[in-house]
């Protein structure tokens, strides 16, 4: 090998760094963390920031590099998604710190599993081959299964983890089957190879393989009718894990959908866009309608997640770069806002009070005005009310749909987001207009409050300056 042999792996630095960080964290926890788990938590946060730095160091803006015989793609999209993942996971860990301590879940392994899940996300953002898609999905899913079950004393969590695990295994089987069909048809695992192999007319064999893959992707997103695990996991898992499941894996799902469908099978987009449109409409419909009937906030957020996934899928339904860009924007915005929402649940909760029933938020405005205000901002944003950022996200999706002539889909999307606005605004209503009763007052927890405030401010700020993030999304998808 030549002397430059290590430099050629530079684009893969984030993953290499993270593997090192996982090992380092394990060892650190053994030697320093057992007595004082908060140390491990702090080191984990630092390591995540280091990961963001590593991503920036390795980034080669405006260029696309392919490593490891085509298995690894380093481009601007990957860089953006990795940066976002590092950042969002860091925020998620920050939000959950107090909760984990209170529930005695603050063990080093928790952080290790979060890191391995993050590694899965990173692998998926750079996936250049079916094999990498599979390994990334497994890495992410396995870690999440373990995290959902992390609170061993909690029977509900164990049940949720079990369901998630078995269904996830079925989904993995479905995915593998679809991949093997595609491999059999094309003789290649590389996504670039698939793109050239499937440039001709659609065959039934392709549809067969594609349907399996689409189902697997839909499962990862949590789209109807492959959504069954979502409410159970959101409600059953420890809140800090729900926060994690709800946020960063959506980025991974976007990455899978983009790499696999848009890049790998972009030539045959006609087939999978139709499949996705069915799933998207079902998700919007069921997600929103069922969310209305929920009394548990986490369960409501689960159905809200399902309906928001419908929006992301609608971005893919367009089959155009414009739509992918809208989906990317929507995903980033959604993950940011959902982080804030779960952060608010964590801030409101305390010993013996999980704050995950909607009724727990009665009169929050008088018990904890600043928290109520932040939740209101986040809810307004999710509901898609201007000038909050959620409005632009939905607007972009609908705009891209209209641009390719999907009038009916865009009407469904609008109607469903109006229905969706109802249950988000109901939270605001409960907070501001219902009497507080004898519910407890807010606790200071200033650091958490501050970061949550920044999160809510971002929901407003990015709405006032929508171009900032939109331009980024446009640039990374090379449409600038």
């Amino acid at each position: 090998m030549t002397e430059t042999s290590f430099a050629q792996f530079l684009p893969a630095l984030p993953e290499i760094y993270l593997v090192g960080a996982i090992c380092a964290l394990l060892m650190f926890d053994v030697f320093f963390g057992l007595k004082k788990p908060t140390r491990t938590a702090s080191v984990a946060l630092l390591l995540l920031l280091g990961g963001a730095v590593a991503t920036l160091i390795s980034a080669d803006f405006g260029h696309r590099q392919v490593l490891f015989s085509g298995m690894y793609i380093a481009d601007d999209l990957a860089t953006l998604l990795k940066l976002a993942s590092f950042l969002f996971v860091a925020i998620a860990l920050f939000y959950s710190g107090e909760f984990l301590g209170r529930r005695k879940l603050q063990q080093g392994e928790y952080y290790v599993l979060v890191f391995t899940a993050l590694l899965g996300v990173l692998v998926l953002t750079s996936a250049g081959s079916l094999l990498m898609v599979y390994i990334g999905v497994e890495l992410l899913s396995l870690s999440l299964y373990a995290l959902v079950a992390f609170d061993r004393e909690n029977g509900v969590a164990a049940e949720a983890a079990m369901k998630y695990f078995v269904l996830g295994a079925i989904a993995s089987g479905i995915m593998l089957y679809g991949m093997s069909l595609l491999y059999g048809l094309s003789g290649t695992l590389s996504l670039a190879g698939l793109a050239t192999a499937f440039s001709g007319p659609n065959s039934l064999g392709l549809i067969l393989g594609l349907a399996f893959l689409v189902v697997a992707v839909a499962f990862k997103f949590g789209a109807v009718p492959f959504h069954m695990w979502v409410p159970d996991v959101y409600q059953g898992a420890p809140t800090s894990v729900s926060l994690l499941v709800a946020s960063v894996p959506k980025i991974a799902s976007f990455a899978v959908a983009y790499r696999l469908l848009a890049e790998g099978l972009g030539e045959v987009s006609g087939t999978w866009t139709q499949m996705l449109s069915v799933l998207a409409v079902l998700s919007l419909l069921f997600g929103n309608l069922i969310a209305i009937a929920q009394t548990n906030l986490r369960r409501m957020l689960a159905y809200s997640a399902i309906s928001n996934v419908g929006f992301i899928l609608l971005g893919f339904v367009t089959g155009t770069g414009d739509g992918y860009e809208a989906a990317l924007y929507f995903t980033l915005v959604y993950v940011m806002v959902v982080l804030g929402t779960f952060g608010a649940i964590l801030l409101a909760s305390r010993e013996g009070f999980e704050a995950d029933e909607i009724a727990d938020y009665k009169g929050l405005s008088s018990r904890d005005p600043s928290l109520a205000f932040m939740v209101a901002v986040l809810m307004f944003s999710t509901a898609g009310i201007p000038p909050f950022v959620g409005f632009w996200a939905k607007l972009r999706i609908i705009e891209s749909l209209v641009n390719v002539g999907h009038l009916w889909l865009s009407i469904i999307a609008v109607v469903m987001s109006v229905i969706g606005a109802f249950y988000y605004l109901r939270i605001v209503w409960v907070m501001y207009f219902d009497p507080p009763g004898d519910l407890p007052r807010g606790q200071p927890r200033l650091a958490l409050r501050f970061v949550l405030g920044l999160n809510a401010a971002a929901a407003l700020g990015l709405g006032l300056f929508p171009d900032v993030l939109l331009n980024v999304c446009q640039t990374v998808l090379h449409r600038g």
């Binding site: 015989s69 599993l113 391995t116 990498m132 890495l139 048809l185 064999g205």
Partner: protein
């Protein structure tokens, strides 16, 4: 010709044992059917000259994983009837779905509507060709990235397994080896200086 006869023979056994895995009522039987399925698929791999994979399949899955699995199944006293309750209520839908899926897959695969020409047979390699060396070479060059990541997947499995099962039970009497090793003489032996006593 012989190869083809062998293939169909093993394939039939494989399908049969796979059905046995999901259909037999006794979990131990299911596990044993699975062992059979592994053996037959190993034989199928041998037929396509993937000797290393075939042997590893037998060694790892049959030798280690399945034995462990059998232990677990036998140690846990699973009430099968309990688990199956309610399952039968949706059985008609299950069967319908299975039939539909099989029909769909068969409709595409068997009717050769795959959209590709029939796959070419692989060129047989020379007798002294080392399948193992080839695999090793590929694993550490082309597939080094997924290979390393697969290692991380295993790490996750280990960490997850430990964290989900290890627990400190209260009131259990255990040796603390670390403490034993780290102990110093001063902790155990106390030298007492005292005046010599006169013998009476």
């Amino acid at each position: 010709m012989l190869v083809q006869i062998l293939f169909y023979a093993f394939a039939t056994v494989l399908m049969g044992s796979a059905l046995g895995v999901i259909l037999s009522r006794n979990p131990v039987h299911s596990a044993l059917y699975l062992v059979l399925a592994f053996f037959t698929s190993a034989a199928l791999w041998l037929l396509i000259e993937a000797e290393f994979l075939a042997i590893v399949l037998v060694l790892v899955y049959v030798g280690a994983v399945m034995v462990l699995f059998l232990f677990v199944v036998m140690m846990l006293d699973i009430n099968v009837e309990e688990v199956r309750k309610g399952f039968t209520r949706h059985a008609w839908l299950g069967w319908l779905t299975v039939l539909a899926l099989v029909a769909e897959i068969v409709g595409v695969v068997a009717v050769k509507q795959l959209g590709i020409d029939v796959t070419k047979a692989a060129v047989p390699v020379a007798a002294d060709h080392s399948n193992t060396a080839e695999l090793g070479k590929v694993l550490y060059t082309t597939y080094v990235y997924p290979f390393e990541l697969a290692a991380v997947v295993l790490l996750v499995a280990i960490v997850a397994a430990i964290v989900l099962t290890m627990r400190k039970r209260q009131g259990l009497k255990l040796q603390d080896v670390g403490a034993q090793v780290a102990t110093r003489r001063e902790d155990r032996v106390r030298l007492v200086k005292m005046q010599a006593e006169r013998r009476e």
